[in-house]
């Protein structure tokens, strides 16, 4: 009895998206055992986007550091922003993860003027 040979087929798919420069958004949360540490992130960011991000090392059991876009720190005090990011980040991050976060800050201003 002969063996039927089925023809081999390959399927190729390609997804095209724009490369982000740098490949992160407003905030990166680096876990303590993440494959990329804060120094490596800093050097990468410094090469790709000099002077645009700041690394803040934190004293936290799971999170080693957060990398924050400088523009955000200009809008909100660094300590308050870090505290907010850590409070929200620690709910989903574990020590081996690196999470990128998009942070929108909207400032509402209301003033009364004399008519």
């Amino acid at each position: 009895m002969g063996i039927m040979k089925e023809p081999k087929k390959a399927e190729i798919q390609m997804h095209l998206t724009e490369f982000e420069m740098p490949p992160m958004q407003d905030v990166l949360i680096v876990g303590r055992n993440a494959p990329i540490g804060p120094e490596a992130v800093k050097r990468m960011v410094d090469v790709l986007s000099p002077d645009q991000y700041k690394i803040i090392k934190v004293n936290h059991p799971v999170i080693e550091a957060i990398v924050v876009r400088n523009a955000l720190i200009k809008m909100i005090q660094e300590e308050k922003l870090s505290q907010f990011i850590i409070e929200e980040g620690e709910r989903i991050v574990d020590a081996s993860m690196i999470i990128k976060a998009h942070v929108n800050i909207t400032v509402h201003v209301s003033k009364s003027i004399d008519l």
């Binding site: 055992n33 494959p35 990329i36 540490g37 804060p38 490596a40 050097r43």
Partner: protein, 322 residues
């Protein structure tokens, strides 16, 4: 002449530096192959940290060395005494110190290497440090112009105990004595087993305080219930002083002389059946330190009045002033 061991005598002079951008897994393999436990980390020509095998083990293998190393290396001079290096390890919590010689990075001192060498300065029977420990702290205190006192303690008739009960029992007694002494000295005192049945105690305190402590310790030892109901007594020799100004001579020599005088005093005390403490009231100026013989004769008269009047004595006790 006592030779105080220094970092220069023991540190590893053969080492290789790694690049701050090297990968953790690469450096882990390198250390494993080379047998080294750590190496300095360079960023170009700048020393930026130290990495140890322990650092590498607890870091993700994909990371770069910059994310695994200790970023604040501590550099010590090669001339630093071993005991000071030990204090530096304890203060910093680091596992590795870098060693500088003649202005250049010349090697590495690991905590393990230091502990191995210091183990030879520990008495295996009692667990107390040996005399090197006292000499180091004495020199340090003298250099800081602090008041110091030395109490030299010598068990009475210990040879008879060894011969009557055997050396094993003698060892048990020595362990018990060291335990009693350790439990009854102030936290700032430094105790060592000086030799056979001799112990030395260094205090950052005035001679009066040391003499009072010596009395208390001889009393405690005398009252303690030792194994096999053996009665133990101890003789003490005390000396103290302070450096008031910078001096060209080596403070280690001064410590040697002080220790020698204290030991001679304990011998004198031992010779008298009625006496358990020999102390010298010799002003507080070590800069006037002469030979042991001169000091012994100078201090002889001064000691009498002070201790007889100020320290409580038990019935039948008397102080020998030498």
């Amino acid at each position: 002449m006592i030779n105080m061991k220094r970092v220069a005598n023991i540190y590893s002079k053969e080492f290789s530096a790694v690049n701050v951008l090297d990968g953790v897994s690469k450096i882990r393999s390198y250390l494993l192959e080379s047998g080294n436990g750590c190496c300095p980390v360079m960023d170009g020509d700048n020393l930026v940290g130290v990495i140890t095998y322990k650092d590498l083990l607890r870091t993700h293998p994909n990371r770069i060395v910059a994310d695994a190393m200790c970023q604040e290396p501590v550099i010590i001079p090669a001339e630093m005494p071993l005991w000071e290096a030990k204090e530096r390890f304890e203060d910093t919590g680091l596992d590795v110190l870098l060693v500088e010689g003649e202005g250049l990075l010349s090697g590495i001192l690991s905590r393990n290497l230091l502990d191995i060498h210091l183990a030879s300065h520990t008495d295996l029977l009692t667990g107390l440090y040996k005399s090197d420990y006292i000499y180091y702290h004495g020199v340090r205190l003298l250099e800081n112009k602090q008041e110091i006192s030395i109490i030299f303690l010598d068990l009475n008739n210990f040879g008879v105990i060894d011969k009557t009960y055997g050396h094993t029992v003698g060892d048990i007694i020595l362990v018990e004595v060291s335990k009693v002494l350790s439990e009854n000295i102030p936290s700032e005192a430094f105790l060592c087993r000086f030799g056979g049945d001799e112990f030395a105690l260094l205090l950052p305190a005035h001679l009066d305080e040391a003499a009072a402590l010596a009395y208390r310790l001889t009393d405690i030892i005398g009252r303690h219930d030792f194994s096999y109901g053996i009665e133990i007594s101890i003789s003490a020799g005390v000396i103290g002083g302070q450096r008031h100004e910078e001096r060209a001579d080596d403070p280690l020599n001064t410590m040697e002389q002080l220790m020698n005088i204290a030991s001679l005093r304990s011998t004198e005390a031992k010779k008298s059946n009625e006496t358990r403490l020999a102390a010298e009231i010799q002003g507080a100026n070590i800069s006037s330190l002469g030979t042991a013989k001169e000091l012994l004769s100078e201090g002889m008269n001064a000691a009498k009045g002070q201790f007889t009047g100020s320290l409580p004595l038990r019935d039948g006790e008397k102080i020998l002033a030498i």
